[in-house]
């Protein structure tokens, strides 16, 4: 078992980083009831951990007996029927799903499937009416129509179900949904908190952590706890006992992008652009999201630029990332950015050095 899963706190009492949020959540469900919730925050900050711990608090140990189901749905949409396949994780009283998996048909998931799930209320042993918990992941990726459909569902079935929504950026969740939920911001843990967790894991695993080593892992992690723990485990596999100046292996794709950045800065020509295209394709084939490639590339380039160029480059990065979102093929836009950068940089070099 990976350490990330092994040391994931199972209950709200044992949460280490977001103690205040955990405390509030506990108060929130103390009366066995809660409003709809919307968790938002950067990845690796602990949203999912908090949600699972909260679920356990509400439902007791039965929340952990989950089964994965791959269900097919037939949805009657007027003149045609739509087949949808969706993976759900469910226990007796909760269902977890990512409606955005259905792509542009996500509206039907919200309108039909979630509605149907929300309607059926479980009955407990004493014959009292209970409620069901629905966890929806990645609501920020839902289409606008689907989000519109969700809002009335949330009100209408509020007696029999509670929705827990989870997303990275609440900017992309419509106002209407936000105003119907209790919003909980989960911030990325600070470096000190990450160090604390790493030291805790080190102690549990019986490792000798040289002083300053945990701090370096934390610094490299970009404030993502998941990444910090993963890279600690990688270091453990690579070399143990730790030495205090042991290299912390960076992600290989990040290294690859920094290579690309060096290439671009060395030579600005169509030939180089062609080589870079090959490398970007390599990254895309390996399922690195294009947004991440562009962001990382910008990060690497910014390190080596003059202040006046930085403004210009970051403007174009924002411009092409937006176009990438609207367009179909990511490679065009990444390449356009690279070409733009080359032209700007060349003009800058000529202006400076003649």
């Amino acid at each position: 078992m990976l350490w990330v899963d092994k040391y994931r706190p199972k209950t709200l009492d044992r949460v280490m980083v977001h103690e205040e949020i955990a405390l509030n959540l506990k108060k929130l469900v103390a009366e066995q009831d809660c409003p709809h919730l919307l968790f938002y925050g950067p990845s690796g900050s602990g949203k999912k951990t908090l949600i699972m711990a909260l679920l356990r608090q509400i439902l007791g140990p039965s929340a952990e007996k989950v089964k994965v189901e791959n269900r097919n749905w037939k949805i009657d949409a007027g003149s045609r029927t739509i087949d949808l396949e969706l993976t759900t994780l469910s226990s007796a009283n909760h269902v977890e799903l990512s409606p955005s998996d259905a792509g542009f048909q996500d509206r039907y998931i919200v309108q039909e499937i979630i509605k149907e799930m929300a309607k059926n209320r479980p009955i407990d042993t004493k014959g009292k009416k209970g409620y069901k918990v629905l966890i929806l992941n990645e609501v920020d990726k839902l289409s606008r129509e689907a989000q519109h459909s969700l809002r009335r569902t949330m009100e209408k079935y509020s007696a029999s179900c509670r929705l827990i929504l989870c997303c990275n950026s609440s900017s992309k969740v419509t106002e209407a949904i936000q105003s119907r939920c209790l919003n909980i911001r989960v911030n990325a843990p600070s470096e000190e908190e990450i160090i604390e967790v790493l030291e805790f894991i080190g102690k549990k695993e019986g490792l000798q952590l040289p002083s300053g080593f945990a701090a370096r892992v934390a610094e490299k992690s970009n404030r993502s706890l998941r990444r910090a723990i993963l890279s600690l485990e990688t270091c453990r596999v690579q070399q143990y006992p730790f030495t205090s100046n042991q290299a912390i292996p960076p992600m290989d794709w990040e290294e690859y992008i920094s290579e690309i950045a060096t290439d671009i800065l060395k030579e600005q020509s169509p030939k180089r652009l062609f080589q870079v295209r090959g490398k970007v394709y390599e990254l895309l084939i390996n399922c690195i999201p294009p947004q991440m490639i562009l962001k990382r590339l910008l990060h690497e380039l910014l390190k080596k630029l003059d202040a006046e160029l930085k403004h210009e480059v970051c403007h174009w990065a924002a411009y092409y990332e937006h176009r990438m979102r609207l367009g179909q093929k990511a490679i065009f836009h990444i390449e356009a950015f690279v070409a733009k950068f080359m032209s700007i940089y060349k003009a800058f070099l000529i202006a400076t050095f003649g």
Binding site: N24, K27, L28, Q32, D33, P35, P42, I58, L59, G60, A77, G78, S79, A92, Q111, P122, D124, K128, K129, G130, K132, E145, H148, L150, R152, E155, S158, A159, S169, S170, S171, A176, Q178, S179, L182, N183, R185, N187, A188, Q291, L294, K295, L298, A307, E308, H311, E312, C314, H315, A317, A318, Y319, E321, H322, R325, L326, S343, I344, F348, A351
Partner: protein
């Protein structure tokens, strides 16, 4: 074992006015509708206005008051965005319902029960244009037996032919006093303790949206118990603390790109929503006294651009960085045009 449900109704539903005369702050609408109740006749209606001003509440209340609980089911059809409302539904479901004849106006059990049915189309601005077009003739043909109530946020998204067939009512954002009095009423009923500072914070962060105010209040009450301070309200509302926005603005003013980049990273890591950040930054910029108008205009232009891109789904970090860079260039009087672009 399934958790047992206690009195779990959201306060928004619990304190939804049941009668038209209880609807706060919308005097003209209330007057017209009270008249309707007496004469038992009304035109097609179109309610529009910002969220949380009582549009749906009014429509539901008038329907209930006209027909009473017994006839309500057979006389009122309520459709909203959570139901499929494509052109097919308009052609079949709505048309079928609209075509059914009803008995003559006999008062039943103290309700006026006028001889028509009501179709409430909530969130009508999310209907497609085709679906709206398909409604035009239906509205006229069956106007003897059916009245349509459209509810929407943006009247500009209702096609002109539909809008011209309706009596339009604009719902105003609630004023601070009305809002405070409703909030205090709820606090009374729920046994909450709210000081005057928290009350004014609540009115300012909810911006005339009573539903939002009540949701925040309930959220804060659940989290922090019966005495609520203004800080608690800010933490449940998702508003970014003023210090954070001001620190961001200050780094933009400093003219150092790397500092700004670091600040942007920080804002993203703290998980603050960037759309909210842009909105609050806008307020800071507009209110700033020491910034000339031209610079303000330049900043606002870049904020608008970033907002549009965020709606399109662009990456938050890059957009905020772009905003920071633009703001910095405007504030520090750096040239707006790029010097190396060919």
């Amino acid at each position: 074992m399934a958790p047992v449900l206690q009195s779990s109704q959201p306060w928004v539903e619990k304190y939804r006015p049941k009668q038209v005369k209880d609807v706060a702050h919308q005097d003209e609408v209330v007057r017209v509708l009270t008249n309707t109740l007496e004469t038992a006749n009304c035109p097609h209606m179109l309610f529009y206005g910002p969220p949380g001003t009582g549009k749906t509440t009014t429509a539901l209340a008038i329907a209930h008051q006209l027909f009473g609980p017994e006839l309500y089911k057979s006389r009122v059809l309520e459709l909203n965005a959570s139901d499929d409302r494509g052109i097919n539904v308009v052609r079949t479901k709505i048309k079928d319902f609209a075509a059914v004849a009803v008995g003559s106006g006999q008062r039943q059990g103290g309700y006026p029960c006028p001889p028509f049915k009501i179709i409430i189309l909530d969130e009508a601005d999310s209907m497609t244009e085709d679906a709206q077009n398909a409604l035009r003739r239906t509205m006229e043909t069956y106007s003897k037996v059916t009245r349509f109530f459209f509810i929407c946020n943006y009247i500009s998204r209702i096609i002109e032919p539909l809008a011209s067939r309706c009596a339009k009512f604009r719902f105003k954002p609630l004023s601070e006093e009305i809002m405070s009095s409703r909030i205090l009423h709820i606090c009374d009923q729920e046994g909450l303790n709210l000081d005057s500072e928290a009350l004014s914070t609540l009115s300012s962060i909810s911006q005339g949206d009573l539903r939002r105010a009540i949701t925040y209040l309930q959220g804060a009450a659940r989290l922090f118990g019966s005495s609520i301070s203004s800080k608690d309200l800010i933490s449940v509302s998702g508003v970014i603390p003023r210090e954070v926005v001001e620190a961001f603005y200050a780094t933009c003013k400093s003219g150092n790109f790397d500092l700004a980049n670091k600040e942007v990273n920080n804002v993203i890591a703290e998980g603050y929503p960037v759309s909210q950040m842009i909105f609050q930054l806008f307020n800071v910029v507009v209110e700033a006294d020491d910034v000339p108008d031209e610079q303000k205009a330049r900043i606002c232009k870049s904020l608008a651009e970033a907002d549009k891109r965020l709606v399109d789904g662009a990456d938050e970090y890059l957009q905020l960085l772009d905003v920071a860079s633009n703001t910095m260039r405007a504030l520090c009087n750096m040239p707006q045009e790029f010097s190396f672009e060919t």
